[in-house]
Structures are given as C-alpha cells and as structure tokens.
Symmetry: C2
Subunit: 331 residues, 2 copies
C-alpha cells in the first residue's frame, strides 16, 4: 500500500484533569433522574478541569510523549496545536503550550490548526507533509480540550456528554516510507454551519456588547438535524474514500470513529459495521473530548499494545462546520 506522506510515531501521551465526575454526581447537580446520562449520552464518567488550563493538559500529555520517546522539548521542530478550545483568544495556543512546557526553548515553530472535532486529522495531515518533505525532522501534534467551561447546564444532552482531556503525538521522519499517512480527506457542508455553534464571544457577538448568557456563550447543537445530515454525508464519504485504494474498509485493522455521542456511534456502526473485536471506544469513560477524543483513543490503544506497528487505522468523524473527515494511517 502506498504511503502518501511517510512518518513514524516516536511517542504518544495523554492527560486528563484531576477531577473525575461520575454521571451520578452530574445527574444530582443537574436535577436529572439516575441513569439518564448513561442512557442518553452513553457517558458514565468524564473528567472536568477545575483548575487546569488547555496548555497545562497539553504540556502534561506532550511531556509524557517526549519521555516515552526519550526526547527533550528542544528536539522538536514544530508543535501543532490541533483543537477547538484554547487558553486565550490571543496568542495561538501552541505558543502557550510551549510557554508551559519549556519557555526557555527558542526557535520551534508553534502553529495552530482548527477544524473543531476533527482538528487532530488536520494536524496530522500538515505534520505529515512537513516530515515527508524533509522540512521537519520531528513534529508534535497536540489536541487539548476543555469543553466543560462552555456548557449550558440547561442543555442536558451536552452537559452530560462532554469531557476534558489532551493527547500528544510525536511524529518523526520515516526515510524508508513504510509508515504514515495513506490518505486524509475532509469535506465541509457550510449550509449546516449554524447547527453546531458557540454564538457569543467572537466578532459577531463580542463580549463588549453581549453580557454573559449561558445560552449564547455555551455550546449549542441541533442534535437531530445533525444526525440526519451525518447519515447522508457518511453514506457517500466512506465509499468514495476507499474507492480507488487497494485496501478496503472491511480490511482496515482498526476503525476509530469520533466519540461524538452514543447515538452517533450507534448510527455509525449501523451504516458501516465493525466486528466487536476491532471496535475501540472511550466515550463511556471520557465523554466527547472534542478534538482530543480520537488521539486519546488512538494513543491509549497504541500504548496498551492493542494497536501494533504495521496495522492500519481509519479515523473518521463529523465536526461542527459541518465537516466530515477521514484519515487512513499505517501505524
């Protein structure tokens, strides 16, 4: 199988905030009947950041990845923050991650990419191109998300669904061209942009003119419309993705769908079945961690030895925008 953009994984790391929140606790706080969260969102436990920031979680995950790779921060050429949430509106968060991890290290390229829940796929694509061209020797892609500070407690679905966490991948050149990115594709359906939003806090509804309002300044989604859209676009996206590849969907070793929600995962597996022994999920124990969901799932499966070098992984999902994306990776 042709590797379009070769690279190796040098190390992976993950981090979660200290505070574990059980669905029982959350149901009490939100005034929901016992068992509601697991039944509707599919989440039993998740972590909520009480004192941590995005860059702290990111630096923790990246330090773990560096330690496992036997590397120092100065060994990195590029740090890509691939996430939808951030410490500050300015500067870009990769700078804050390096400010947290190793402020004394000068000269690394810090850049951010954002395709909301699919940001990790975009980050890997850019990193792969930097490595394959020889312009970088080692690139870190870090997805760190704190969803919990932007949730409306009156919107039960999202208030029980989301969790916080971070994952970091250190990628390095693979001169033999045997591992890395086979294909990455992303497609946006802008007519559906309004169905997943945080309305307040940008230039459309600036802080200056719109005081805090839990509806305006929190995550909002039209779940039912999005599921319909998702079904339609998945149905064509996946066959097209694999149409001219020698490897077919059913031959991929591991399929990792974005941990969007219980219903989204159910719908996904109904359309594109995966045998039980090749399913991977962390929705139940982590919740939907926005862009950190997929790399956390992948990093932990690599670290535990579930996913082995040489195996193929297909990362796939939908994101606010509305975008759909897939990435085929030979580990």
């Amino acid at each position: 199988m042709h590797i379009a953009q070769p690279f190796n994984i040098a190390g992976v790391g993950t981090a979660v905030p200290e505070c574990l929140v059980t669905s029982e606790e959350l149901e009490q706080t939100l005034g929901l009947p016992k068992g509601w969260s697991e039944k509707y969102s599919g989440v039993r436990t998740r972590y909520h950041a009480e004192h941590e920031t995005n860059s702290q979680l990111a630096a923790q995950a990246l330090r773990q990845a560096l330690d496992r790779a036997g590397l120092q921060p100065k060994d990195l050429n590029v740090v890509i923050s691939a996430a939808a949430t951030y410490d500050y509106p300015l500067p870009n968060n990769s700078c804050m991650i390096m400010h947290e991890l190793a402020p004394e290290v000068e000269g690394i390229t810090c850049l951010d990419v954002d395709t909301t829940c699919l940001s990790f796929l975009t980050g890997i694509d850019y990193a792969a191109r930097l490595l394959a061209s020889g312009d970088a020797q080692r690139v870190a892609v870090v997805s760190s998300e704190i969803a919990s500070r932007g949730l409306n407690p009156d919107h039960k679905e999202s208030a029980t669904l989301f969790g916080d966490g971070a994952a970091a991948f250190i990628l390095e050149r693979d001169p033999r061209g045997q591992h890395g990115l086979v294909r990455q594709r992303m497609q946006t359906y802008p007519a559906a942009a309004g169905y997943t939003m945080i309305r307040g806090g940008g230039n459309a509804k600036p802080f200056r003119d719109y005081p805090y309002d839990p509806v305006m300044h929190s995550f909002h989604m039209e779940g039912k419309i999005l599921l319909k859209y998702g079904k339609r676009i998945l149905t064509t996206f996946i066959p097209e993705f694999f149409a001219d590849l020698p490897l077919k969907y059913d031959d991929v070793d591991w399929v990792l769908p974005h941990q969007a929600s219980k219903t989204a995962l159910y719908l996904y597996y109904k359309l594109f079945p995966v045998p039980e022994e090749r399913k991977l999920s962390n929705l139940e124990t982590r919740g939907n961690c926005i862009a950190a969901s997929l790399p956390t799932l992948l990093a932990e499966a690599i670290q535990s030895g579930n996913i082995l070098p040489g195996q193929t992984c297909f990362l796939v999902g939908t994101a606010a925008g509305l975008s759909i994306g897939g990435l085929l990776w030979k580990i």
Copy 2:
C-alpha cells in the same frame, strides 16, 4: 532558483468595512491631541467594522478574487482561513466564510490556521504543500480580521493603531514549477508569550466567571519589551533565512514587512535597509490589520501591477507568541 512548493496565483481580492475612521475623528473620541495618532502609531486612516463580520469581509475579498480568476466557489478544493480573529468561537471560521459565500457548495475542505499576525504565511505554506503534492488543484487562503471590537480605548497605542480588513488569494497548481514558495520559516520564543495577549474569553479566564472588562477582554501588548525582543530575533533570523539560498536579501525584488507599527517598521528598515523604490506599506491608510495586513499589501501591489509575475517577494514579521516568520515567494 529552486521552488520548493510550486503554485500560481489565479486571483487576488481585498475588502474593507464601509466605515473609514480618520485619525482626527479618533483623536476627538479618545481625547487625544490632534496629530497624536500619525505621530505615534503612523496611522492616518483605518477602517472599522460597524456592521460587518469577519466572514462577510472574507467572502467579499474571496468573491473578488474568484471573479478576477474567472472561477466559481465550487472550483475551489480547499479554503484556508488564516487569521487571529473570527465570527464565533465555534465552528472554525473557514466554514462561516463558505456559509457566507456559497452555502450550497458542498465538499470543499474548510480549515483554519492561526499564528496570529503571521497566519497568512502559515496558510500559504499549507496551501503550497497541498498544491505541490497534487492533493488539491485550487486553494483559497483568506485572512480576514476585525481588530476594532477587541480594543481598549484607554490603551491609546493600540486604539489608534489597528484597522479591519480582509484579503484573499486563490492559488492553483503550477505543473511547470516556475512560481511559488521558495522557503517559509517560523520560530517561536515562548518566554515572550505573555507580552501580547487577550487575557479574557478563553478557558484560562472564561467569560462565565469573568464579566466584561475592557482591559481583560481587549488586546494588550508590552510594546517596548517586544521591540527589544524583535530586534534581537530579527538580527539572527534574516541572515539565517538567506544563508544557504542562491538569492540574497538585497537581491529580493520586494520586501514586505508586517505593518505592525510605525516604530516597528522604522526599526526593521534600520536593521535591514530596503531602497525607497522597493518599499511597500499600507500602515498609514489601513492601520495594522493583524494577519490581513501582509496579504492586503501584497494583493494590492499585484493588482496594481507594482509587483510582476516572476518577481520575488519576502514577507516577514513578528507575531504574538512571540513568533517570527519569513516567506520567500516567486510570484
């Protein structure tokens, strides 16, 4: 000269808000003596968005670029939003740009990159890689910024310095490899991350817990420290950038420094002189438009016939982070 990532310019476009603000008007509003703005910030007029959004200005610039290229929105494969400001914290702004421009067009990849003031350089680098590999035929890079909604009126330097605007570049494959990106480099100095910030509105100081405060929720910079830093890093960055290139700094046809401020430009030209006839600037008539400054300057010079195909341009500047970046482009 070797073109590392070839591409051609198919069309360029720019847009500004309706409302032109003269320094005289602004000085009256801010209670400053007449002439203060031109003397200290170097800005005589700038545009401030009264009713426009980032995506509206972006769509206007992109429509102009498409018209000049004789293209339709559906002819694009990828739209990259390369900016520090946005309509909404979610979704990513490229989706909102397409939502504004052509919501019915499905399947274009919409992705955002952010390296604050240098975002356009990152966007061009990513676009160039997509085009050179053949993974995309046409990519739009759009930098649209509304700075005026995040300014503290008590901070005279920034209140008089910034302006709003947008610029769009449509790039397409250059199979002959004669035009495009020669080199792009960016380096971050994270110890200086705290010197340019908007402190409120992200996860570090969430709006839920920190109500609007013109200091916390506005742009803040430590101008004097940054100028010192900038001087130090420029002094090594530019010689290193050109060290192993056949083209030397003095042989570049056009040098376009980021329009950061009058003092920054003065310092830049003092360190790295450019003959008067090869200087380009729009600080006086536009203000510092964050990431939109450089592409606006470049697009207008191309459109007016000042910069000609085959000529070389060096885009250079510093950005919050603190990052320094340069891009050598054969037009």
